[in-house]
């Protein structure tokens, strides 16, 4: 199962604020990245790094490179982004939706309500970390 994880889930999962669901979710990704394959692209890395000290940014990159590889933004087809903008997403959100479709991910994991309220008719699920944990547990049964 491939998962695109939004920047807010990383930030919440690192423990900046108390969010046990995002923390548990990231721990599962770390433990089982061969089963739950995280996908990430450069823009998300930049958003996460914006809140990290350089030393922690290096640790974050090491973590990411252990569980997956970083895709570059320019690889994402422009047409896919335009499609999601036409559906009402802001350009930066449209890029994430486009990336999620382009890599064929099953789930976009985000705490962003703008995504969560526009999840109908998408080729992937949009779940919060809490709901994704439930989804993972159900898929194991």
């Amino acid at each position: 199962m491939q998962l695109v994880i939004d920047a807010n889930v990383y930030i919440l999962g690192f423990g900046f604020v108390n969010d046990p669901d995002c923390e548990e979710f990231l721990s599962i990704i770390a433990k089982e990245s061969s089963l739950y394959i995280p996908r990430i692209f450069r823009s998300i890395v930049r958003e996460v790094s914006h809140n990290l000290f350089p030393e922690d940014f290096q640790k974050f990159i090491k973590f990411i490179n252990t569980v997956t590889k970083i895709d570059e933004d320019f690889l994402i087809p422009f047409e896919l982004g335009a499609k999601y903008e036409a559906k009402g997403l802001k350009p930066a959100d449209a890029l994430i939706a486009a990336y999620t479709e382009w890599v064929g991910a099953d789930v976009l994991v985000t705490e962003n309500r703008h995504f969560l309220s526009r999840h109908r008719n998408l080729p992937f699920k949009v779940l919060t970390a809490k709901d994704c944990l439930k989804f993972i547990k159900l898929s194991k049964k």
Binding site: N8, L12, F16, A30, S33, L52, T66, V67, A92, N112
Partner: protein, 58 residues
């Protein structure tokens, strides 16, 4: 193969733990914020970075 997977998982957990510990030792940019405020803050950063990206293209 299982050993490789286990090694990778151990390394990833170690790095995640180190990252969380390192973050916890530093001034927290989100002090006093609720989860909703953090999400809103992250949206603002996204928009700011997007505008910067567009500006470099024009």
């Amino acid at each position: 193969m299982k050993k490789i997977k286990n090694k990778k998982a151990k390394e990833a957990m170690k790095l995640l733990k180190e990252l969380r510990q390192s973050i916890a030792k530093k001034p927290n940019p989100f002090t006093g914020m609720t989860k909703e405020q953090v999400i809103k803050h992250m949206r603002k950063i996204r928009e700011k970075l997007w505008e910067e990206k567009l500006a470099t293209r024009h």
